[in-house]
Subunit: 306 residues, 2 copies
């Protein structure tokens, strides 16, 4: 089934304790599309780039079945650029530079092929832009998921709350869940956030796994304990892409179905952090993914205790 995604397609400069990578391909929609493409080949990408973006990179995504009709290319302008440096423990990072460029006045225009889709993944962007996408949909998708960040809670909370009302699944990290709800306990935070609109909440906890709140039900997904986290950039987007890609593949939005989607997303994120940027995501295949998902199953399986 079809999956529409919106988010940045961009360049990143990344510095981690393991090294530096300059002007590599990044952006939320890039990670989401790469990750989802291992589960569904009917992906539609909506974004904006300048004329500085390499055709070869776009072609790689097209080769994975990504429809680019919704990708605007602005002649004479530059693509979005972000530079960041991770701390030694990889849990914190400093933004060294942000150049909005084409993103400054991005108005997403959905081509006809994108107006009737089964699933939507709204990557992290201005809430108004996320809303603009929802407004252009001609039929209600089966599921709309949204990612956001603290920054929008600080500067555009009303817009964020408005768009959150329209979606089904909110995907944020623990710090963001606490800020949005004003609650420290993630259980209480989840209750408050679900009252804001989304029926389902996914809280990403990085190396500590992820929590799925689905009605009264809670699922706790592990993160794979890794020898090395080489570059965490895009791990959250890769998780979201795997999650929504898996749902687009199975069409199962029940609690049981979403648990499996969380594991699929976690497995994809565990690949993402193994190399700089999207590199590792371009190297894997169905076999490596199957094996990795098997590792997750081994990691948490236990027999009946009593």
């Amino acid at each position: 089934m079809s999956l529409l995604t919106i988010g940045t397609v961009a360049f990143d400069d990344i510095e981690t304790p393991f090294g530096k990578a300059g002007r590599i391909i990044g952006g939320a929609a890039t990670y989401i599309s790469w990750s989802a493409s291992y589960f569904t080949n009917d992906i539609k990408l909506v974004s904006v780039i300048g004329d500085d973006f390499p055709d070869s990179e776009l072609q790689k995504l097209k080769d994975r079945g990504v429809n680019m009709e919704g990708l605007q290319i602005k002649e004479g302008e530059k693509s979005f650029f972000w530079a960041g440096r991770y701390h030694t423990d990889m849990n914190g990072r400093d933004t060294l530079d942000t150049q909005l460029n084409v993103l400054a006045d991005f108005d997403p225009v959905l081509p006809e092929s994108c107006k009737n889709v089964d699933y939507v993944m709204l990557g992290n962007l201005t809430p108004q832009v996320q809303m603009r996408v929802i407004d252009q949909l001609e039929s209600r998708p089966k599921l709309i998921a949204l990612d956001t960040m603290n920054f929008w809670m600080d500067v555009a909370l009303d817009d964020l709350l408005a768009v959150i009302k329209k979606i089904d699944v909110l995907i944020i990290n623990d710090e963001e869940a606490r800020q949005l709800s004003g609650e420290y306990s993630l259980v209480v935070a989840a209750e408050k956030i679900i009252e804001m609109g989304p029926k389902i909440l996914v809280i990403k906890k990085g190396e500590h796994g992820a929590l799925l709140f689905h009605g009264e039900n809670i699922f706790f997904a592990p993160a794979l304990p890794l020898r090395t986290v080489f570059d965490p950039t895009g791990a959250g987007d890769t998780f979201a892409g795997g999650f929504m890609g898996y749902i687009a593949k199975t069409g199962d939005t029940s609690f049981e179905g979403m648990k499996k989607a969380i594991i699929a997303g976690s497995a994809m994120a565990s690949f993402c952090v193994e190399k700089f940027g999207i590199q590792r995501l371009t190297e894997i295949n169905g076999n490596t993914i199957t094996k990795r998902i098997g590792k997750f199953e081994q990691l948490v399986r236990f027999d009946t205790v009593l």
Copy 2:
């Protein structure tokens, strides 16, 4: 099967964002014994107290099957006392007062009934005191587990390394594992620590669950997402008590058996934090524990993904 435990039996003053509790019953051996007593009724406690400790509290433990022959009562002296205040997020705490009292010159003397046991849980104490217990054992137990803390890594590292060589299972938290190994990645930290002696390593991550490293195998146990963590004091000891109590019950030290022991320990810890001190541990029963363990099973179970 029999379980010998050593650790403090003490008074605590505790301050959390939810309130204060003065001069309540605490100490590692107290929590370990209460927790383990729900799985085995052949527990032997070795510790030291002053003459200020209420008989009624000792009687409650005796009623749960705890053999107190190894508990020294020092006339005219005071029991160990600790006072601490938890931060708002419950993840950090400040020690406000520590009065060693009887602990200052504690020399554990094992009565005959304690010299031949199946399992040993060495609660957090000076490594020399932990070693003194091992030295007095007449036969090698099936399994010796040890808990310790950063403080001993700072002030008695050589003694700690010596006792760690003699044990089978080391139970520490993530921060302690990182300090002991000098490695940030818990996977690499586990490899280094296992080279120090213990075949098995349990890393407690508080609200993020626990990891079991058993040879080449890794198991990730969740923590139960709770609405409120009322008082985290003793949660780690309660976890260790449930873990070793379960093993003493089943006699199963295989990887599969230890996974289940980790879940049992996690379930017990999830009770501990619901009220001040040991209060909640004195109220539960087999039924409430069975239900709680069922919650853990629900929390992580998922069908085959691919």
